[in-house]
């Protein structure tokens, strides 16, 4: 299988604090992979390094064989690696539709003159963007809220909108930072389905941070466990469940 994401000896230190220490893992195309670990284990920091929001102090990250560890976040996003945030980051005062239109900025005609005079190409691209918006709103079940302001949506809907906003950029790899946080069991089950569909129907690979173990164990092909910045285990859900180091990290020493 094709290697999609390769993380090698990734390290991130803030002054004397080592947040991520020598983390390595490989992710193949069409995989769903989870990063788990106790609070403060450095999961989100690792995500920030991979998605270009931090420049890692050590190691390298490759996306489809291309080194991305020194690229800025917006360039990485254009290469097909997009992410959501632990604390949802929507454009709150814009409508649901507009949130998805902004995300398609790189695919529409941004030419100044084209926009001023509404050239045929400009109209065509805008129309395509609208169609894609409608499609993805339907996929995540938000079509009826299309013209609502984003911050008027319920929490679970905002989470889904954030995922839809990533998907309209046609990513190869989607990073989800605690997508089930704050969701009720029903919503979590829906999310489970959605993530599977994204992979199976749309060919997107997914790397997620999650605390909800039933979700993680149910959908992941592979799990990486971080503890105090270190990669203490990786393997299939079954292997992780049996791993004594993981149990110790979560439950503490006997």
């Amino acid at each position: 299988m094709k290697i999609l994401l390769h993380v090698e000896n990734l390290g991130m230190r803030f002054g004397g604090l080592v947040a991520v220490d020598d983390v390595s893992f490989t992710m193949h195309a069409h995989q769903i992979m989870a990063v788990i670990g106790p609070n403060g284990a450095g999961k989100t920091t690792a995500f920030n390094c991979i998605s270009g929001f931090y420049t890692p102090t050590q190691g390298r990250v490759e996306l489809s064989g291309k080194c991305i560890s020194d690229l800025p976040g917006h360039d990485i996003a254009r290469l097909g690696l997009v992410r959501t945030f632990q604390n949802i980051r929507l454009f709150n005062n814009m409508t649901v539709t507009e949130n998805l239109l902004v995300a398609q900025h790189c695919n529409v005609n941004t030419g100044l003159l084209a926009g001023l005079f509404k050239t045929p190409d400009f109209r065509k691209k805008e129309k395509q963007a609208m169609e894609k918006t409608a499609y993805w709103l339907e996929q995540v079940g938000l079509l009826e809220f299309a013209n609502r302001q984003a911050d008027t949506l319920a929490y679970g809907q905002q989470r889904r909108l954030e995922i839809a906003r990533c998907m309209v950029t046609s990513p190869k790899l989607l990073l989800l930072d605690e997508p089930a946080a704050g969701l009720n069991p029903n919503e979590t089950a829906d999310l489970d389905q959605l993530i599977m569909r994204l992979r199976d129907d749309h060919g997107v690979s997914i790397l997620l941070i999650e605390h909800d173990m039933s979700l993680v164990m149910g959908i992941s092909d592979k799990i990486v466990v971080l503890d105090q910045g270190c990669n203490i285990a990786s393997g299939t859900p079954a292997e992780i469940r049996e791993n004594p180091d993981v149990i110790r990290a979560y439950l503490g020493e006997e």
């Binding site: 409508t95 941004t110 926009g115």
Partner: protein
């Protein structure tokens, strides 16, 4: 009550301290000597007013509660239904009006139009992109000096220089924007403030090119397809009145300038109205709301901010060229910081991001001082007072922005 009393007393005392140098003393010329005249009554009056108001503050604010409720219900005019008709009527009226009006009024209207253009331009930067620019007047100066210098040294006409002025101002906007746009909020404001001053100081001191504080005189007025509006045209040219076979009148020129400004403002309005509906307009809004989310979606914040800065500067460039042409004389005094502050005040008073608001505020800021010439001395005082009152009662501006929302239709 005692607390309130001492509070009011301290406030009155502070007022006294502050007003003594401002309105308590006045420089009076007696022959060739300057003397300091002392007017205690004004200070006393000011102190008394502050004391009373301060003492009654709780009662006043209680009474105001009802007013506040009412004001929050103020309709943010919804004229969507008859929009096209209304706009057409306003535009037609704006074109016809000067023919039935006095020269002075048209002149003030032209000045207002310049400020509208500046306000609309700065509105892109401050209102849409959320970047506080305190040196906007620099681009205005660049536009004005571009036309003045090109016409002085190379004899280029207004119509050739107008696009060049816009372009050059845009280039300056780009050059300034490039290094400073990684700064945020206050830091950006300070750097742009500095830039505004640098431009003014360069213009003031580069005597050999700009004429320094003496400025540039006899800048030619714009022509109408080569027709001049002076009594006697330059060699080889025909003045407008001879061409039309009518008597000479200075009013034609004033009306022509007014209409020219009006057209420039209308073009500005059209362009900005398109911009907010274009991808770049959406990106400005998104960037103002959440820069991190923008980056995570592949939008390059620097380029988007830069586009706002550059486009904003362009309109200042156009306004500058027109200003130079209208005045016929420019010097660095026209481009001081206070000018930047006034333009910013127009944007804030009008309601950031609101175009109609900016237009109303520009009219208020230029027409009211003209109407109240007798109170000229108190202009800045009233100006400050209005700002404070606005911040208390209507911080969102006269007409808060209503961004055109893009709707998904099934």
């Amino acid at each position: 009550m005692k607390q309130q009393f001492s509070d009011a007393f301290i406030a009155a005392l502070l007022t006294g301290l502050l007003t003594i140098p401002i309105i308590g003393t006045q420089l009076v010329t007696e022959g060739i000597t300057l003397t300091l005249a002392w007017d205690g009554w004004k200070v006393m009056t000011a102190m008394a007013i502050v004391f009373v108001v301060r003492l009654l503050t709780p009662q006043i604010s209680q009474a105001m509660q009802g007013v506040k409720k009412a004001s929050s219900k103020l309709p943010s005019i919804n004229f969507a239904e008859h929009q096209t008709i209304l706009i057409t009527i306003v535009i037609v009226f704006a074109f016809i009006w000067p023919f039935f009006s006095s020269r002075g009024a048209i002149d003030i209207a032209t000045l207002t139009l310049i400020y509208i253009m500046l306000g609309l331009g700065l509105n892109i930067v401050v209102g849409f992109a959320g970047l506080l620019d305190l040196g906007y007047v620099a681009f205005y100066a660049v536009g004005a000096y571009t036309y003045a210098l090109l016409s002085q040294y190379y004899g280029l006409s207004f119509w050739v220089c107008l696009p060049i002025s816009g372009l050059l101002a845009a280039i300056f906007g780009f050059l300034l924007g490039f290094p400073v746009l990684r700064l945020r909020g206050d830091y950006l404001a300070i750097v742009t403030l500095g830039f505004g001053e640098i431009i003014r100081l360069v213009l003031n001191n580069w005597d050999s090119l700009t004429g320094g504080p003496d400025g540039i005189t006899s800048i030619p007025k714009p022509t109408l397809f080569g027709l001049e509006f002076s009594r006697r045209a330059q060699e080889g040219n025909v003045p407008f009145h001879e061409f039309m076979g009518i008597d000479y009148s200075g009013t034609y020129k004033v009306i022509f300038l007014y209409i020219l400004a009006l057209i420039l403002v209308l073009i500005t309005l059209y362009v900005i109205n398109r911009l907010v509906r274009m991808p770049v307009g959406r990106a400005w809004e998104a960037l103002r709301e959440n820069e991190i989310a923008c980056r995570s979606l592949g939008l390059n914040p620097t380029i988007i901010k830069l586009s706002a800065f550059t486009l904003g500067a362009t309109f200042a460039g156009f306004a500058g060229a027109f200003f130079a042409a209208r005045q016929g004389f420019i010097n660095p005094e026209s481009f001081t910081f206070i000018e930047s502050a006034i333009i910013l005040a127009i944007v804030v008073l009008g309601g950031m991001g609101s175009q109609l608001g900016v237009i109303l505020a520009a009219i208020a800021m230029t027409v009211l001082p003209e109407l109240a010439r007798e109170f000229d001395q108190y202009r800045m005082l009233i100006f400050g007072l209005v700002m404070i009152l606005m911040m208390i009662w209507r911080p969102q501006g006269l007409l808060p922005a209503h961004r055109p929302k893009i709707e998904l239709r099934s």
